[in-house]
């Protein structure tokens, strides 16, 4: 493996609809992360962004549109599409080779100007079979949830508890989009959008502008006293047609194993101090617990019942409020990573978890029922 790489600073904007123009918002978040590090645009080695086109933002080759606002002018750069954690991986790779000392990694998604998320995810479906039946991410998630309930006897209440927990956490997060205290009854009684999924169990559609500054070991130590080190990364892709897949044991296990192996983690439950995971639908948090090895298959329901994943628990999951509180589609993975970095730095403010945080995990997923997963491990 190449050189050590650290996240030195992070900046993020709130998820609520903003009147500011897309380019202005991107400029602000890039400016903020550079200011925090005491750097100017000249000091940035390379730029790796994450965004998606047309359906997410109305512009094709969006990276061309925001290139100069994202500090890219006359710099070497590139972009990852779909999952923003990949932009982080790529930024790390670029520094590891020694070609660059610093990398600006950012994700952008102006949710308030996009069509409804499911109008977009509907276009993930092939035009011949799956699109004809109206498949989209919520549709696929509802099928996955039903199978989860039936197979393991997980209850709808256990799934709804995720919403109560995460939205409670979001109250302490100034960047969260949805901020309200909700009760289990309210979640259970919210409208069924696609049985058995309820409205409050589905993530909102948010704006998202998040930037991370990465640096090589030598540079990182000069910039900050609290570098957050890259330790491991893994991703995995599943087969395409929903009917061909095991919806309860997909590729997350694979992605997590790759990340754990790279980071030298053998017992994730013991070794990880905080996890930020992409739960676009409440039950998925429980299912992802299993994929990440926090509990055995089918144990997600019991785990939420124990309260151990609450902010003051043994392994706090989504202390930021998670994706249920804020869902800027493409860049939600980088938001997870930013939150884990802040937790490790001890700079998460009101939402700082009770336990000492040394090792953190960020997870991202997109596609029908989690067709693609990525997992990153960070260490203080």
């Amino acid at each position: 493996m190449g050189k050590r790489v650290a996240i030195v600073e992070v900046a993020q904007l709130p998820g609520a609809m903003s009147d500011a123009n897309f380019l202005q918002q991107l400029f602000e978040v890039c400016r903020e992360v550079m200011d925090k590090a005491g750097m100017s645009r000249k000091d940035i080695g390379t730029v790796v962004s994450a965004s998606s086109d047309v359906f997410h933002g109305g512009i094709s080759c969006a990276n061309a549109y925001y290139w100069d606002s994202g500090a890219g002018f006359l710099k070497s750069g590139t972009r990852q599409d779909g999952e923003s954690l990949l932009a982080f991986q790529y930024g790390v790779m670029r520094i590891m080779t020694g070609h660059y000392d610093t990398a600006l990694v950012f994700g952008v998604c102006k949710g308030s100007e996009n069509p409804a998320t499911d109008a977009i995810t509907h276009y993930f479906a092939d035009p011949f079979y799956q699109r004809q039946v109206g498949l989209n991410e919520t549709f696929a998630a509802a099928l996955q949830m039903r199978e989860y309930l039936n197979t393991y006897g997980i209850t709808e209440e256990q799934c709804a508890k995720v919403v109560v927990k995460n939205l409670k956490n979001a109250l302490g997060n100034p960047y969260a989009h949805v901020k309200k205290r909700v009760t289990l009854e309210e979640v259970m009684n919210s409208k069924r959008v696609m049985d058995p999924l309820k409205e409050m169990e589905c993530a909102p559609q948010s704006e998202g502008f998040v930037a991370l500054l990465l640096a090589s070991e030598e540079r990182a130590k000069k910039i900050t006293t609290k570098p957050v080190w890259f330790k491991g990364f893994g991703s995995s892709m599943d087969t395409y047609y929903l009917g061909d897949r095991n919806l309860l044991d997909g590729q997350l296990r694979n992605a997590a194993k790759r990340a754990y192996d790279m980071a030298g983690i053998t017992n994730p439950w013991k070794e990880i101090d905080v996890a930020e995971i992409t739960e676009a639908y409440a039950f998925q948090e429980l299912l992802w617990y299993e994929g990440l090895g926090f509990c055995d298959p089918g144990g997600g329901g019991k785990l939420i019942d124990t309260g151990l994943t609450e902010r003051n628990g043994d392994l706090p999951v989504n202390p930021s409020g998670g994706v249920l509180a804020m869902n800027p589609y493409v860049c939600r993975g980088l938001y997870r990573l930013a939150e884990v970095s802040l937790q490790i730095k001890g700079q998460a403010g009101e939402r700082q978890v009770d336990r000492k945080v040394k090792t953190g995990l960020a997870h991202g997923t997109h596609g029908f029922a989690g067709q693609f997963h990525a997992v990153a491990i960070l260490k203080g």
Binding site: C61, A64, L74, H99, F124, P127, G367
Partner: protein, 388 residues
């Protein structure tokens, strides 16, 4: 810097109008060809990099899902790189960094486009933002038309001369394409055929323009150690460069074209190249329009500013010339956009490995590949050599 990386083989589809095949099957054809070309199996591969033009091109969003199986990516780590027309080059760079960083040993890089299933110019018009640029920069020809005129006026070159040089490029490349089994448009043209073809956007005429193509390309890269085991003649990656400039078309000089000169400087510095025309044996320049190829010769230091027309007319950049450019026929004859710059990389690698068949440049040891994208806003370079 980083570990050495080499290209050990590649696969291309037969490019053209492929209405007989679905889009996933087109991707599968390139992947299969690359596996056969390198004689390895998926067990040897650690990761897949994929990319294409944006979703509007074929009406499917985030095609990496749809193509997961065709890419043989199921259960594999994957990256999805997209940077517009430069996508193919950015894909190759992603594969390079994945291996050079030590995070993977062998990576398959795939780019594709099935342009007959969509409307490429409508898609390209949405690269321009909806308030100002979209109204007058309709599609790709608008951009290159302005760049061609800016070129003539900046150096005060008579229009007839630029026209002749561009026509010469068109005639040469369309002829070269006959020797490339994968090329799309193969046609014997005279200078007059080109000069009298119908106007697309002044001064660009039909035979100055690349086609829409359906096609895919897969390139397999490996770390130094693995490459020596897996291939007799690996193409070593010697230099990389990528640079982007202003999005707002009117705000930058597209002749003293900074993103081109800066990208190529990065690549030459890394590869230790001082005199590109002498040191390079062959170049695969991304030439969707004839005029822009002339401009690239100058930006890449193949000749001085304003000299490209004279040298092109003398045949310096023809197949038997001092620095043959696009012996494959280039983008001008084959343009499945998401794959196009990756095809440049594959072709350059084939040249230094001595596997280019009928369009082999004899004894090629150092080759240059290029991608162009955005509103003439991105340039990406990769230089490959037969020696480490």
């Amino acid at each position: 810097m980083g570990r050495p990386v080499a290209i050990i083989g590649s696969g291309q589809t037969k490019h053209g109008r492929r209405t007989e095949i679905t889009y996933p099957d087109l991707v599968r054809e390139a992947v299969q060809a690359a596996l056969e070309n390198t004689n390895i199996t998926m067990k040897d591969i650690d990761g897949i990099v994929y990319g294409s033009m944006p979703s509007m091109m074929e009406g499917v969003a985030m095609t990496h899902f749809y193509f997961a199986d065709a890419l043989r990516a199921v259960g594999m780590p994957m990256m999805k790189t997209e940077t517009c027309g430069t996508t193919g080059m950015s894909l190759a760079h992603t594969g390079y960094y994945w291996i050079a960083s030590g995070m993977a040993d062998v990576v398959m890089v795939v780019g594709s486009e099935k342009m007959y299933e969509g409307d490429s110019q409508a898609t390209m018009s949405t690269v321009m933002e909806p308030y100002y640029l979209r109204y007058f920069l309709a599609g790709a020809p608008g951009i290159f038309s302005m760049q061609a005129q800016e070129y003539m006026s900046k150096y005060n070159i008579p229009e007839e001369k630029v026209r002749d040089a561009a026509a010469r490029i068109s005639v040469d490349h369309h002829k070269d394409a006959f020797d490339n089994p994968y090329a799309h448009i193969k046609v014997d043209l005279s200078m007059d055929d080109v000069k009298n073809s119908r106007i697309i956007t002044y001064p660009i005429r039909l035979w100055d323009v690349c086609p829409n193509s359906d096609g895919a390309c897969a390139v397999i890269m490996a770390s130094g150690k693995k490459a020596k085991k897996m291939s007799k003649r690996p193409a070593w990656i010697k230099g990389l460069g990528f640079c982007g400039d202003e999005y707002w078309y009117g705000d930058s000089d597209k002749i003293s074209w900074e993103c081109a000169t800066e990208a190529v400087k990065q690549a030459y510095d890394m590869a230790g190249i001082k005199n590109p025309r002498k040191e390079l044996d062959v170049a695969e320049v991304y030439n969707p329009f004839t005029f822009v190829e002339l401009l690239h010769y100058e930006c890449f230091g193949f000749c001085g500013p304003g000299e490209a027309c004279d040298l092109a007319l003398k045949g310096v950049f023809s197949r038997s010339g001092e620095l043959p450019c696009d012996p494959s026929g280039g983008t001008l004859c084959t343009n499945p956009i998401g794959a196009t710059a990756l095809i440049r990389v594959a072709e350059a690698a084939m040249q230094v490995s001595g596997n280019a068949g009928a369009h082999q440049i004899p004894g090629a040891k150092l080759a240059f590949a290029h991608g162009l994208g955005g509103l003439s806003e991105f340039n990406g370079i990769m230089i490959m050599g037969s020696e480490l």
